[in-house]
């Protein structure tokens, strides 16, 4: 019988026989930590501000998520329940616990603890997964569900876990076929309204690009060009062979522009010969805008990350080009404005680190839903 991947107990902790035993073990560990801290004259806090459920179907994803949470614990002390649904193995559900304690401040003035629990589902445990997770949630705290991979709409475990959730976190950068999966996310977002919030980490990565694009048109003289956009081009990173194409982030940027500026779809998304997408979209006044989403190889970027944007527009018989480019050193962005081919303005600014920990951390501080994202997604679905 297949046993599935062996679990590394030094990373995940020893196996516990049920929720009561697991809670007892956590209490024992807390006490031990607490006694140790008192000896050192340091107070200890069992701080929890949220429940975080992480769903992964591969151990390496679960592990990577667990490490991110460890880094997050300082900003968002939590009880983290990592659900590893390992479909290669059979029989029942088992839980492993581990409690981590880190010193957030160099002088070690305080210890903050968080609790990490692994719920490993062996075999097809779709129907019973939630019954193992519910009793582990800390009462009263908001529940975040971080689903790695594409959420399986209609699967029971996804539905059951979603019912417990205040905010669902997904990463559309992980979606292999965005033209298929972004509509799925839009459907979830529709269902979510009023019941839970939805976060796409890929959207969070776009924030600095959206900020800078907005900043262009804060200048009164350039605002006119917003109604006269003629072309948009968004570049996104691919690896050297150009095999893995993940245009979700770039598409979200287009969706965002379309939803904010009232652009309507003219034709369906079509792949261009260069591996990207080329399609036309209509301005509110009916004029055509050519949209190009093109893959580029760039060193030091994660696949799918936006590498540059270019917006062309005409107004008052002037031709303008607004461009933002990521510098070879990927920590910087340079924004340029050309009027009739002449450089009028240029600025370079730091690009915030796109580490997933930072992204999640930002999202965990929000509980409400993001209407701008929903609108961007909506515009994309109309295009697809």
């Amino acid at each position: 019988m297949a046993e599935g991947v062996a679990i590394d107990t030094t990373f995940w902790g020893t196996r516990q026989g049920g929720v009561a035993a697991l809670e007892r073990e956590l209490t024992r560990l807390r006490r031990a930590q607490s006694a140790h801290a008192r000896e050192l004259g340091r107070p200890i806090a069992r701080a929890s501000v949220l429940n975080l459920i992480v769903y992964a179907d591969r151990e390496e994803h679960a592990r990577r998520a667990a490490r991110s949470i460890a880094d997050l614990a300082l900003r968002h002390p939590s009880r983290a329940i990592v659900v590893l649904a390992d479909r290669s193995a059979r029989d029942g559900t088992e839980k492993r616990i581990e409690m981590h304690c880190r010193l957030p401040i160099a002088d070690g003035a305080r210890l903050v603890c968080y609790e990490q629990i692994l719920v490993r589902a062996r075999g097809d445990a779709d129907d019973r997964l939630a019954s193992a997770v519910i009793p582990l949630l800390v009462p009263d705290l908001p529940v975040f569900l971080w689903w790695t991979g594409t959420p399986p709409l209609g699967s029971r475990s996804f539905g059951d876990l979603l019912r417990l959730t205040d905010r669902l976190v997904v990463d559309s950068a992980d979606f292999a076929r965005p033209e298929l999966t972004l509509p799925v996310i839009a459907r979830i977002s529709d269902e979510a309204r009023g019941r839970f919030g939805l976060t796409d980490l890929n959207w969070t990565r776009l924030t600095p690009w959206r900020e800078i694009a907005t900043a262009f048109f804060d200048v009164p003289a350039w605002r006119l060009f917003l109604d006269g956009v003629t072309g948009v081009s968004v570049g996104f990173a691919v690896d050297m062979d150009g095999r893995d194409i993940h245009p979700s982030q770039a598409l979200l940027f287009v969706g965002w522009l379309a939803s904010r500026l009232g652009w309507r779809p003219l034709e369906a998304l079509a792949p261009s010969e260069a591996g990207g997408l080329l399609f036309a979209i209509a301005r509110p006044d009916g004029a055509r805008i050519m949209v190009r989403v093109r893959p580029r190889f760039e060193r030091g970027l994660d696949e799918g990350d936006v590498s540059g944007i270019r917006i062309k527009a005409t107004a008052a018989r002037q031709l303008a080009e607004f461009a933002v480019k990521r510098q070879p050193d990927p920590r910087h962005q340079t924004a340029t404005v050309l009027l009739d081919g002449e450089r009028r303005w240029e600025r370079t600014m730091p690009l915030p680190s796109p580490a997933i920990v930072e992204l999640i951390g930002e999202e965990l501080s929000i509980l409400g839903s993001d209407r701008t994202y929903e609108a961007a997604l909506g515009a994309l679905v109309e295009l697809a």
């Binding site: 607490s34 589902a121 019954s131 193992a132 009793p135 009462p139 009263d140």
Partner: protein, 485 residues
């Protein structure tokens, strides 16, 4: 004297509690235990049986063999299957008195199934087991009766042999540290009582959730249901402690007077009010902690068309000066996803909100939660600013965890209660008028459900979920929701 001395309760709770009291040197030096049951057992067999039980169920492990040996020397067993047995019991007690010089102080403990209570009390009277010189007290396990009339009848029988102040009706919930702490928290602190009323409280929720099913108790449970098993005693006790007025003193009379007073103020649910204020449920098959479990009607000993309630949710009103207009939502059930007993006082929202709707998205009303089990403690929920630019508000919990603050294990409820009974302190036991009021509240609901009008029976819920959707509707009608316990 333990009647039902080799039964389940004695083995799991009473003897381990007594052993732990001995371990803490809290038992009198001249103390002996006599167990009786109908089946024949020698002293040696009895000690052997209890040795195993204590080794398995004691909260302190491993067993301290030295202490056990001396404890076991004072363990005796008498078979009481007939009058001759009771006569032997009397002789045994007299011999022990003579040998130990205990002045015949005697505590009788009824740990048998309730149907046997009557015969035992009568036998205590008939065979003059009370003794002549010392005090005599009787501890009666719950349930005390199965409705108001039978409780009254049982009371009359007990009173033929014992005065009311000699009767200790046990509800082991009252022996729990955190339940006693409700009174300490309310009445030893200055900051809670001023807001403990209709001006500041929006509503109160009490949850008694079990993950276990009916197990081997189907015979009893089929007759009782959650209403008699939990609501009539544990739940109403918690309600009384949280809603009662400050007693004049911390003694048995003053505390119980106040509890009876608040029970009297509890509005009766009957007739048409029933469907709006009470929901009963029964579990179907499902999963607990990822393990499949059978539905109630599939359990051994349960009728396949049983209408017994394994879940009850009620909306209650305490009609008095303090609580006028404030609903108390209570729920209890078996096969719920999590074992949890707690009381949550939900406060009103701030009268005027300064912050924008987006900023407030994460805010929930202030709540004070008293967790009875597991993880005994108290937590207070309030809104705090999330450390980012701008204002974002999030509900956070300030936690007091019993286990982490006082690094000792709390004594088991039975240790506390047995010791209190030995000392003669009845504060944590239920007085007759209290039991009477509890039944007076519960009876009309049970009758209403049993009447032919409510033909639909209990609403079904899947094991491992938080009860039937009807229970959600009960609270959501009022624009509120059950807490995530």
């Amino acid at each position: 004297m333990i009647f039902g001395g080799s039964g389940d309760l004695a083995q799991r709770k009473l003897i381990p509690a007594l052993y732990n009291l001995a371990l803490q040197r809290l038992l009198p030096a001249t103390f002996s235990i006599v167990g009786t049951a109908r089946k024949p057992l020698s002293h040696e067999e009895y000690r052997e049986e209890l040795h195993k039980a204590v080794a398995q169920y004691s909260r302190t492990r491993p067993l301290n063999e030295e202490v056990w040996r001396s404890f076991a020397e004072h363990l005796h067993f008498v078979t009481t299957s007939d009058d001759a047995g009771y006569e032997e019991l009397r002789r045994t007690l007299e011999q022990l008195d003579f040998a130990l010089g205990t002045h015949a102080n005697r505590l009788f403990y009824l740990a048998t199934p309730p149907p046997a209570y009557k015969a035992i009390v009568e036998a205590i009277g008939e065979h003059r087991l009370r003794g002549d010189t010392g005090w005599a007290r009787i501890v009666v396990e719950k349930p005390f009766g199965h409705d108001r009339a039978s409780a009254l009848e049982l009371n009359e029988i007990v009173h033929t042999v014992f005065r009311e102040d000699e009767v200790f009706r046990i509800d082991h919930y009252l022996g729990k540290e955190t339940v006693q702490n409700i009174l300490v928290m309310r009445f030893s602190n200055g900051i809670f009582e001023p807001i403990w009323n209709r001006q500041y409280v929006d509503h109160v929720q009490i949850t008694v959730a079990e993950t276990i099913g009916v197990g081997e108790r189907a015979g009893y449970y089929e007759q009782a249901g959650a209403m008699r098993d939990i609501v009539q005693n544990h739940l109403l006790q918690l309600l009384a402690l949280v809603s009662m007025e400050p007693p004049a003193a911390f003694d048995d009379k003053a505390v119980r007077d106040e509890k009876v007073k608040v029970m009297r103020a509890l509005r009766r649910i009957a007739g048409e009010d029933l469907s709006m204020n009470a929901v009963r449920g029964q579990y179907t098959r499902g999963f607990i902690e990822g393990t499949p479990v059978p539905g109630y009607r599939e359990e051994p000993g349960v009728a396949t068309d049983s209408r017994t309630d394994t879940y009850v949710a009620l909306k209650l009103w305490v009609d008095n000066w303090r609580w006028e207009g404030i609903p108390f939502y209570v729920r209890t059930g078996k096969r719920l996803p999590k074992q949890s007993t707690e009381i949550a006082i939900q406060f009103r929202a701030a009268p005027h909100q300064l912050f924008s709707r987006d900023a407030l998205a994460g805010l929930e009303p202030n709540a004070l939660v008293l967790r009875i089990q597991p993880d005994e403690g108290i937590s207070l929920r309030f809104g705090a600013k999330v450390p980012v630019q701008g204002i974002r508000i999030r509900a956070v919990n300030m936690d007091f965890d019993y286990g982490a603050s006082f690094m000792v294990d709390a004594p088991d409820a039975y240790e506390t209660l047995i010791l209190d009974a030995l000392r003669g302190d009845a504060t944590l036991f239920t007085r007759h008028d209290e039991v009477d009021q509890q039944w007076a509240f519960v009876d009309p609901i049970i009758k209403g459900w049993a009447s032919s009008d409510s033909a639909e029976g209990p609403a079904l819920y899947e094991a491992g979920t938080w009860g039937p959707t009807e229970a959600d509707a009960l609270i959501e009608r009022d624009g509120r929701k059950w807490r995530k316990a």
